[in-house]
């Protein structure tokens, strides 16, 4: 197939996958018109759309691999056959029938994984032009054109996009299926909402089943849109759309006060992050003049290069020169090779700005408060939005936008990540709500990803993103089925010993816990590694941070914190598991009523648990790692040596695999440390909650202060309240006072003055003018009356007067004419 044909084929498939949920959403949102509130048709439509989307993205991935010769290079398939006795009927890779049914496609994915094979070829990254192009970019529609800038809806397809597409659609499909069961009690005309008290009773409202699936479809559309986006502006558009969907989904139970405030909080905090994002965008636009990431085809790149091509040459090097006034200028290669220089700090500012957006979206250090409250939404939402996809968008953006970040920005990313992971972990330890614990664990894992991206572990970070998506959504769904089983009871102290009641949920939960803690038995025994996906990704991260520490001694924290975090993670995860599933039930009532959730809920659990185990199979030699490495930005593999002005070294791949102590590589050393810490944490949790030998209450009493501090979630809410809300009230109070005193005073003053003037004017008017007029009237009246005697009414006297008058006049005339 020719490159163009492949490009069109891939873009077609991905566009279908992308737009199907939108169509679903359009249908489902009007379900109120064409279907009743009791039918599940809306759900089936949603599942169908996202399922078809998964199939399309899967076929796109396979056809991409086949045609770009990627499979040929990395013949995982044959390798798999040799080693693993397991084997189902392996349909040949390219023979996938686009089968809408979830079950069969599950096997196909598994098979495709094995085809990748563990070992990864010598990673020559030199792109010789003669080879088949692997990255495709294009434009659907041009929104606007401002001079040289084109705002367009376009796509940028490379291995990362395809992997993300498959991951998102797969997880969304499972969650949609799960949601059908979970949201089944909304299928009534009269849904009693126990959490909302209206008068003396509860709120009665019609069920909103179809609306939930509409929002889910909209969210899937916007997430896929974000992933496929070809330029930063489009990313921003879907960034906002995703934010809206999270707002809608968190606030699904709108009547609940807590739900609506949580939705607002999430949206507002995201907006704060987006504020930074916008600033970054603006800087990019003014300085670079374009939003597109990069233009794979050579001739188009010459005409209007993407952001990356302008900043970095083919080897990923950024040229910095010292301008005459001493400031560092970055040289950009514009269209037709024109050169333009922008100040270095501007680029740093742009990077920081874009990273702010990611902090807001992925609930990193300063803006993490909204995620725990976001648990108010239904559990499938938490699973899909607030664990796997949306929060991962921040990390994906950092990954996608990696070339633009200068070393200084990377350091900040790293530190933010470190702080976040440690803080979230500590809070998770004391959290009692099952979903709160998972929320904090999500935050800390995101911290891990940011940390790994910050320290240069691009592939490690994104691998961890994928794996975390799988096992975190798994755990959320398990907690969902637990809540569902315990009739919306989320407090762990009320649960206990549910293993017997809900075996499948318990064991899938256990798989998730083991995956996240990264427990494994290092080494490969009889061709199989006893290690979950979490182990591989977490080890890579810790190794990269160790290598980073190796290169930059002052950043010791970047290694210590992830290590400690790993331990704490293990502790709170196993605490969670033991708390809910092991031991005697703490609340007999709930225990009695607990029941295993129906098939429609536990099947996705099983599927997700399978992926939680095998998605990062074979670690760095695995297919997933290979795919991710394929779209690693140029120059990442061999790291950056410390350049001006920050003097920070970024480790490459080889640094990670250098010999450190003896023959053990950095990677192995880090792995051993992480494993030790994790095992310690697990054992400690077992002691506290599993066997209940130690009483947490005692510890709580001993470290009451610390405990209180942690329960208060490091008092960030109070901090923000104090920093922002209070000042606003105070200032508004001042303004109100100003308004009342100054402006009203002024107005009252003028009106009072007006009143005075008018009273004076009225008095003047009455006395002077009226007086005058009356005087004149009076005078005329008096004169008139005085002449009255003349009008006697007697005819004869009148004649006499006339005669006299005549005489007088004539005399006068006579005299005058003398």
């Amino acid at each position: 197939m020719e490159p163009d044909q492949l490009k069109n084929w891939l873009s077609l498939l991905l566009t279908i996958a992308w737009l199907l949920p939108l169509g679903g959403f359009a249908l489902e949102i009007f379900a109120g018109f064409w279907s009743t509130r009791l039918k599940k048709t809306a759900a089936y439509i949603a599942v169908g759309c996202i399922g078809a989307g998964f199939v399309c993205s899967l076929t796109a991935l396979c056809s991409w691999g086949m045609h770009t010769g990627y499979w040929a290079e990395h013949d995982y398939l044959t390798k798999f056959f040799q080693e693993t006795p397991l084997g189902g009927d392996h349909a040949p890779a390219d023979g996938h029938a686009a089968d809408g049914h979830h079950g069969s496609e599950h096997d196909a994915h598994h098979d495709e994984h094995s085809a990748h094979g563990a070992e990864h070829g010598a990673h020559g990254h030199e792109h010789d032009e003669s080879k088949y192009p692997t990255v495709f970019a294009g434009r659907y529609y041009q929104l606007a054109e401002f001079g040289s800038l084109q705002l367009e809806i376009g796509y940028y397809i490379d291995s990362l996009t395809l992997v993300m597409f498959t991951m998102v659609t797969l997880i969304a499909t499972c969650i949609h299926v799960f949601a059908i069961g979970y949201m089944s009690d909304e299928l009534t005309e009269d849904y009693v909402d126990h959490f909302v008290h209206v008068g003396e009773g509860h709120l009665h409202r019609p069920g909103r089943f179809y609306r939930f699936f509409a929002f889910l479809s909209l969210f899937s559309f916007s997430m896929l849109g974000l992933v496929i986006a070809g330029n930063v502006f489009m990313v921003f558009i879907f960034w906002e759309l995703v934010g809206i969907c999270s707002y809608l989904l968190i606030g699904f139970y709108t009547e609940r006060k807590s739900a609506s405030t949580a939705a607002n909080k999430a949206f507002i905090v995201n907006r704060v992050g987006d504020f930074g994002f916008l600033i970054g965008l603006m800087i990019l636009w003014t300085s670079f003049g374009t939003f597109a990431f990069s233009e794979p085809s050579a001739e188009k790149a010459a005409e209007n290069p993407g952001l990356f091509q302008m900043l970095r040459d083919d080897h990923g090097q950024m040229t910095v020169e010292i301008a005459d006034d001493g400031s560092h200028q970055v040289v950009l290669t514009g269209p037709e090779g024109t050169h333009k220089t922008i100040p270095y700090y501007l680029l740093v500012a742009a990077g920081i700005g874009i990273f702010c957006g990611c902090v807001g979206k992925s609930a990193q250090f300063p803006l993490q408060t909204w995620l725990p409250d976001a648990m108010e939404g239904p559990t499938p939402v938490s699973a899909l939005v607030h664990s796997a996809t949306m929060v991962a968008a921040g990390v994906y953006l950092v990954g996608r936008f990696y070339p633009m970040f200068t070393p200084e920005v990377l350091v900040t990313i790293a530190y933010i990540g470190a702080i976040t992971l440690f803080m979230a972990a500590t809070i998770a330890v004391v959290a009692t709500d099952i979903k709160r614990v998972l929320a904090y664990s999500t935050i800390s894992q995101l911290g891990y990803m940011m940390l790994s991206l910050g320290v240069g572990g691009w592939v490690a970070g994104l691998l961890h993103l994928i794996t975390h998506a799988f096992f975190k959504s798994l755990m959320f769904l398990c907690s969902g089925s637990v809540i569902h089983g315990c009739h919306h009871e989320q407090e762990m102290p009320k649960m206990g010993g549910l293993r017997k009641k809900m075996p499948i949920t318990a064991y899938t939960m256990l798989i998730g816990v083991i995956a996240i803690t990264g427990l494994a038995i290092p080494g490969t025994y009889f061709g199989f590694q006893f290690a979950m996906s979490g182990y591989h990704s977490k080890d890579a991260i810790v190794a990269t941070s160790l290598a980073y520490w190796g290169l930059n001694d002052q950043h010791v924290l970047l290694f210590i914190l992830p290590l400690a975090g790993a331990g704490i993670t293990a502790f709170y995860m196993f605490r969670l598991w033991f708390y809910t599933f092991a031991g005697e039930p703490r609340d007999q009532h709930i225990h009695d009523h607990a029941h295993e959730s129906p098939a429609v809920m536990w099947v996705p659990l099983v599927i997700l648990s399978f992926f939680a185990i095998f998605c990062a199979y074979d670690g760095e030699q695995g297919p997933l790692w290979g795919l991710l490495v394929h779209s690693e930005p140029a120059g990442m593999d061999h790291g950056f040596d410390p350049a001006a002005p920050g003097q920070i070294a970024v480790p490459g791949h080889h640094h990670v695999h250098e010999k450190m102590s003896g023959d053990a590589t950095v990677h192995d050393v880090a792995g051993r440390y992480a494993l030790a810490v994790a095992i310690a944490g697990a054992i400690l949790a077992y002691l506290f909650y599993g066997a209940r030998l130690l009483n947490p209450a005692d510890v709580r009493r001993q470290v009451a202060g610390l405990h209180e501090f942690l329960v208060e979630k490091w008092r960030f809410d109070e901090l923000y309240d104090a920093m922002f809300v209070k000042p606003v009230h105070v200032i508004s109070g001042w303004i109100a006072a100003l308004d009342r005193v100054v402006i009203d005073g002024f107005l009252h003053g003028t009106s009072k003055a007006a009143v005075d003037v008018s009273t004076w004017d009225r008095r003047f008017d009455e006395q002077v003018i009226d007086g005058l007029v009356n005087w004149v009237g009076d005078r005329t009246f008096r004169v008139g009356r005085s002449l009255r005697f003349v009008q006697t009414g007697r005819l004869r006297q009148y004649v006499m007067f006339i005669a006299g008058g005549l005489f007088g006049v004539l005399m006068l005339v006579y005299i005058l004419t003398l």
């Binding site: 009008q791 009414g793 007697r794 005819l795 006297q797 004649v799 006499m800 006339i802 005669a803």
Partner: protein, 101 residues
């Protein structure tokens, strides 16, 4: 032309006697007679000027009109006087002073 002066003299006498008659007579008809005298004085002057000055024929025509209109005026005045007499049973002008100030 002495005759013109004589005519004017006679006219003046007529006019003045008319005015006096109007001024002194308490009988409404007396007043009317005074009016007639005044009108006649005017007529006399008209004709005299027609004869002795350049006024010519116009004077005579005007006197014709005066005569005719005097007749009309007398008719109306008499009607009023009779009405007054019928209503108030008196012809004394001084009794008709309702329009005093």
């Amino acid at each position: 032309m002495p005759e013109l002066n004589f005519c004017i003299l006679i006219g003046a006498v007529l006019f003045v006697s008319g005015v006096v008659c109007m001024a002194t007579k308490r009988n409404a008809i007396g007043v009317l007679m005074g009016v007639e005298l005044v009108l006649n004085a005017a007529n006399l002057n008209f004709v005299a000027f027609a004869r002795y000055t350049a006024l010519g024929l116009d004077g005579q025509i005007l006197s014709l009109f005066v005569i005719v209109l005097a007749a009309a005026e007398a008719a109306v005045a008499l009607a009023i006087a009779l009405n007054f007499y019928n209503n108030h049973l008196t012809i004394d002008v001084d009794r008709a002073d309702d329009l005093h100030g």
